[in-house]
């Protein structure tokens, strides 16, 4: 498994996937405080032209909260790009047949699935917290992060949501034949969970609940109300991995 993890690292590094994702997440990390910082200037620039239309702009107070709100608007874009770039991680190997020599050398299929999934989790963790850290650093420099309630808990919730998405991606990849199928499957699962979340009965017991970080920051929700969503994400991710292992054991390479 260690050898396969090393191979994954080399692949991410040499195919440029890591570089692209690093750039995206660093950019997203900078973008949230930058947009918050630029908001007064933007409003001032637009105020003259807006005055002509009858809209009156008032002075805006910008603080860390504006930046964090922007962070939770931007980070889904990062997750989508992460899924897009990782959708061919398994299927590319099936299509080229590169896993055949690996399996016939005696490496178990579970080690392959385990290494790939672990790498997805690891990559998401590093990229997400890097993005979070950059936003945190800028916010601390310009304003005060203390006004945001349960900041790290809210951050951890979205990180867990990303882990759940990565687990779904690994599960779909275990049986899908192309990256398009992986994207449809993963996107379908995320959309399904979102639709189910529209029903108030299910709302608190779905991983989609973990995306609502801003409610925690503003104190509109307490961390306790996220228990159902956390449990659902952990259980569903574990089930995805177990089912993925069964599918991957049987799939034709």
């Amino acid at each position: 498994m260690k050898a396969f993890l090393k191979k994954e690292w080399m692949e991410w590094l040499r195919t440029g996937r890591l570089m692209v994702l690093l750039m995206v997440f660093v950019l997203l990390g900078i973008m949230s405080p930058a947009l918050a910082k630029l908001t007064p200037w933007l409003m001032e620039t637009l105020s003259d032209s807006m005055a002509g239309t009858g809209i009156v702009t008032t002075e805006i107070t910008v603080d860390a909260m504006v930046s964090w709100a922007q962070f939770y608007k931007n980070i889904p874009m990062g997750l989508v790009i992460f899924v897009l770039l990782c959708s061919g991680s398994f299927t590319g190997e099936y299509q080229k047949g590169t896993l055949v020599p690996v399996v016939t050398k005696g490496l178990s299929r579970r080690s392959i699935l385990g290494a790939k999934t672990l790498f997805l989790f690891g990559a998401w963790t590093v990229l997400y917290w890097l993005c979070f850290g950059i936003t945190y650093g800028y916010n601390a420099y310009f304003w005060d992060n203390g006004i945001a309630g349960d900041l790290f808990f809210a951050g951890a919730c979205y990180w867990l949501f990303g882990i759940w998405v990565a687990a779904v991606l690994a599960f779909v990849s275990a049986f899908a034949g192309s990256s398009a199928q992986v994207l449809s499957g993963t996107g379908g699962a995320a959309f399904g969970v979102y639709l189910l979340g529209l029903f108030p009965t299910f709302h608190s017991f779905l991983p989609a609940k973990l995306m609502e970080g801003t409610a925690l920051l503003y104190g509109a929700e307490k961390p306790e109300s996220y228990g159902g969503g956390i449990a659902a994400a952990v259980i569903m991710a574990a089930l995805c991995l177990a089912a993925g292992a069964v599918c991957f054991d049987k799939r034709r390479l």
Binding site: T15, P101, V102, T104, G106, S108
Partner: protein, 305 residues
């Protein structure tokens, strides 16, 4: 070919059948491969050779029957028997962002070999396949270079059974010869099972051969036994004057015309009748030659062409 192995079988297929839905690809395939032999697996495209090899590797599941490698049953999915096997696919694919040395090191690591052994074996095998000077990435490799790297990775873990799927089909004559030499040299340490439809390769290096046609083993044995078993040797007879050949043809209708003044006799038992007639009529004859059956003839006979 020299050597017939140790008598112990490294690979045994017992009444193996494989169906893909309604389509039956392999029917009651039953054969054994003795240790330290080169075993040719012959059949036209689509005969089921690759399917049979994938079953041996546990990459496909048998519909019925059993396969044993080194005395252990093959299991679909994660078969422990793969630690005895080296496999060269028909179109070997590698991680294109690696160099050949990096790829071989990766093979050694996943096989759980020691670092020192990996380093030594990498150098040894790159030298064997003539890729020791290739430091660039596999991305720019030709088909022949990939085939050579494929054989190096297949031999990396010193397998007891080396399975090669059509290893020479896409190579030029020089590349083919090099690869066949490697396979013959591999026989010292391993048993080689290779599928092909190039019969001259089989005649050159194989000890044993099995013919697969429409999913069935229709003929198997040592190359010599197989050549003797089916078609008896033919006799070719060439007369000096073409009209004498026509005279012989009218006299002995079982003869076949094989060219200007040339006749072919399949039933060699009746040669004396013809020779008697030639002597009686004093017909000038250039040549009477016995022709041994070639694998190519056998193959064409088997596939009904």
């Amino acid at each position: 070919m020299a050597g017939r192995g140790t008598g112990r079988n490294i690979l045994t297929l017992s009444h193996v059948e494989k169906r893909f839905g309604e389509k039956q690809v392999l029917r009651d395939v039953d054969f054994s491969v003795p240790e330290h032999t080169v075993f040719g697996f012959v059949g036209k495209n689509g005969a089921g050779k690759t399917t049979a090899m994938k079953l041996v590797l546990g990459l496909l599941s048998c519909s019925s029957g059993e396969i044993q490698v080194n005395g252990m049953p093959v299991r679909y999915g994660n078969t422990p028997t793969n630690r005895f096997v080296g496999y060269l696919p028909d179109v070997p694919e590698f991680y294109s962002y690696m160099s050949p040395a990096e790829y071989l090191q990766f093979c050694g690591e996943i096989a759980g070999m020691e670092k020192k052994e990996i380093r030594e074996r990498t150098g040894e095998l790159l030298h064997l396949v003539g890729l020791e000077k290739e430091k660039g990435r596999i991305k720019g490799f030709s088909r022949g270079m990939k085939q050579r790297l494929g054989i190096a990775q297949a031999l990396f873990g010193r397998p007891k059974l080396l399975i090669c799927d059509e290893p020479t089909s896409a190579l030029d004559p020089a590349g083919r010869k090099e690869l066949l030499d490697i396979l013959v040299s591999a026989k010292e340490q391993a048993t080689v099972l290779f599928s092909t439809h190039i019969l001259s390769d089989v005649e050159h290096i194989c000890d044993q051969v099995a013919f697969l046609h429409n999913g069935e083993i229709v003929l198997q044995g040592s190359v010599e036994e197989v050549k003797k078993s089916r078609k008896a040797a033919k006799t070719e007879l060439e007369t000096e004057r073409p009209e004498d050949a026509r005279l012989l043809l009218s006299q002995f209708p079982f003869l076949k015309m094989a060219g200007q003044g040339s006749l072919l006799l399949e039933d060699t038992g009746r040669l004396w009748e013809i020779l008697h007639f030639i002597a009686e009529k004093k017909l000038p004859v250039l040549r009477v030659e016995r022709q041994e059956a070639a694998l190519e003839d056998l193959f064409l006979e088997i596939i009904g062409k």
